[in-house]
Symmetry: C2
Subunit: 371 residues, 2 copies
């Protein structure tokens, strides 16, 4: 059992995970008690020189789910993406109330290219903190590190967890938990959990989205990128993410990662499943995909995912059950999508929906009936 303990250097904080969970018994005794490192909205979204919408999917996710946090967008010459926000420079954004500039664009390798440095420094000088979901650390750009230190600004690298976690304990915690799982990576697990949060809150339920990846963290302001945690602590990190609730009726809606059937990432998926100890799970699927992302293996069936998730998940929660199927039907026409969902409803006797296209009310109603 490894005790990972990376401390921040130069007084620059590398993370921003908030402290609502600090009383959790699953948090390591040795965990550095953070200064208040929560990411501060509203945001100026930095789109850089993004060549297409896919490259800006982090920023697009923030706009989709937290439009009210988005003051504007900053685009460099050559940027081909427009998220429909006001184009603002950092000084204008600050004047309109923005607190943080978020690098909402990804590129191959997750690096911070040299042509971004001037914009990042300008943002710091305008009074904004910086947040990034890239692999590179913001403070590894010398001009950025120097400006942040000089100006007392915060640099948030949300892709790099730097808390200390305890190993998972498997002890039952108060409250209800739902985990989104999938037949593959990138099939809508984050969007499904966010849609469930929105729908549950609209009914007045006590529900919180729990982020496990960089975009989710930027959307919710807290969380842990579990695939970047040291392997010994995956389930411990998941326990930290979805701690003992204050009331029994609280729902944690935990963003799933990978797939139990993905040969690259199933270990992350299993640790997340055990640590989350979900009462309920929703299977997410993309019906037009033939092989799993990045490998040549075929996708499992939804039935296989249900069976395997229950077989593994009952270790830490014997009551685990599937409460719905979430299908990304973006590549299907309206009729095709409806047919696909109807077929799944009849095959699995569960609600099946596309959260973006048709909402998740059926799933929430089903949960209401079952719990």
């Amino acid at each position: 059992m490894l005790n990972l303990h990376i401390l921040s250097e130069n007084g620059i904080c590398h993370n921003f995970f908030d402290l609502r969970a600090c009383g959790s018994p699953t948090l390591a005794k040795t965990a550095p008690r953070a200064k208040d490192m929560q990411l501060k909205p509203p945001f100026l979204l930095f789109l850089g020189d993004a060549s297409d919408q896919l490259a800006a999917k982090t920023a697009a996710g923030i706009v989709d789910w937290r439009r009210e946090w988005c003051t504007g967008q900053l685009r460099l010459p050559g940027c081909k993406v427009d998220l429909g926000l006001d184009d603002l420079d950092p000084v204008q954004a600050r004047a309109k109330g923005a607190s943080t500039m978020v690098i909402g664009v990804a590129n191959a390798g997750g690096v911070i290219p040299p042509q971004w440095a001037a914009s990042l420094v300008t943002a710091l000088e305008a009074g904004l903190d910086l947040a990034s979901g890239l692999h590179d650390r913001l403070e590894d750009v010398p001009a950025v590190a120097q400006a942040a230190t000089r100006l007392g600004r915060q640099l948030h690298n949300v892709r790099i967890p730097e808390q200390t976690f305890a190993t998972g304990k498997g002890t039952e915690r108060r409250g209800q938990r739902l985990l989104t799982v999938g037949t593959d990576c990138s099939v809508g697990k984050k969007y499904t959990a966010l849609a469930l949060e929105r729908a549950m809150r609209a009914r007045g339920w006590n529900a919180d989205f729990r982020a496990t990846g960089q975009t989710g963290i930027l959307i919710s302001g807290r969380g842990v990128a579990v695939d970047a945690v040291v392997a010994d602590f995956i389930s411990g990190a998941a326990e930290w993410i979805s701690p003992d609730a204050e009331t029994e009726d609280h729902w944690d809606l935990v963003e799933g990662q990978g797939s139990l059937f993905h040969p690259s990432f199933a270990g992350v998926t299993l640790g997340l499943l055990h640590g989350t100890q979900p009462d309920a799970f929703v299977v997410c699927h993309e019906p037009t995909r033939k092989t799993m992302r990045g490998v040549s293996m075929r996708l499992p069936t939804i039935g296989q995912v249900i069976e395997q998730t229950i077989a593994c998940g009952r270790l830490t929660n014997p009551r685990i059950k599937c409460v719905g199927i979430s299908v990304n039907t973006a590549k299907l026409g309206e009729n095709e999508a409806q047919d696909c969902l109807a077929k799944m409803r009849s095959e699995y006797a569960l609600p099946a929906t596309d959260p973006i296209r048709f909402g998740v009310d059926d799933i929430v109603q089903h949960i209401d009936k079952e719990f």
Copy 2:
């Protein structure tokens, strides 16, 4: 998918994993090509002020499996452990041919206590490199870092993987692989794999033990502490550990970790299972244990472990099968041990043995018949 890339600082190398696997297609293109960082035996085993045999189990493991690599032991005042080696100081050990002093003792927290520093520096001055399986890095002790730099010695922190791995691909590799799995942590997975290596080599088979934890790495001179790898790369690390073999008849004997049924570590176990893509596995068990290490959960049955290992393992190797049961009977008398093994043989129709007490010939014969 995170691309972890920690480079060595101050010219001190932090790892020593050898380069036999460097041609492996599973190794990331971006992996830093190491200087030759293989750990150099023979060893002087540093036992420090170890209070009992358990504290010195890393050193004891090296003596059990690589007696020919052990030049002597170095004990500080108060040390209560004797591994039956000559007591040597670093100068004497160097004169007798030792190349590396290995810290073969663990303590709570895995720290390097201040009272060890003088001995570590003395060893460097005597011409020895240092290797440690502790959590603390050797170079975090300033006097040690300075002496190593000044004298050009190598510091090996085997607990801390610092290669860059690719994510697992699940592609079939040449050669045969066997993984030891368990009903719990610390049930004999490493000793079973080492016993199989010894027995297979005695028959002239082409077989290599593959280490996945710090003691195993010190015993075999290479490997990766998989529980310390970033979660995204568990299966990728396992693919690196057991690469494409040169011949189809080669056996990799991979040291398992954790248990698919352990709520703290099952993610590591699953990633290791998928990455190893074993043709064969042996289930390891400690029959007197009531609850799993560190948690209050009961152990699974051997039958459950067999079933779940096949259910998960067939993702990357549809031919996976159980070839034996390895029982640590140290706490049982001779008759009790024999009864326990006989019962398992009849219940599971598989060879069942205690590798230390009765050898693993039955399992190797069974493998010979099945493959």
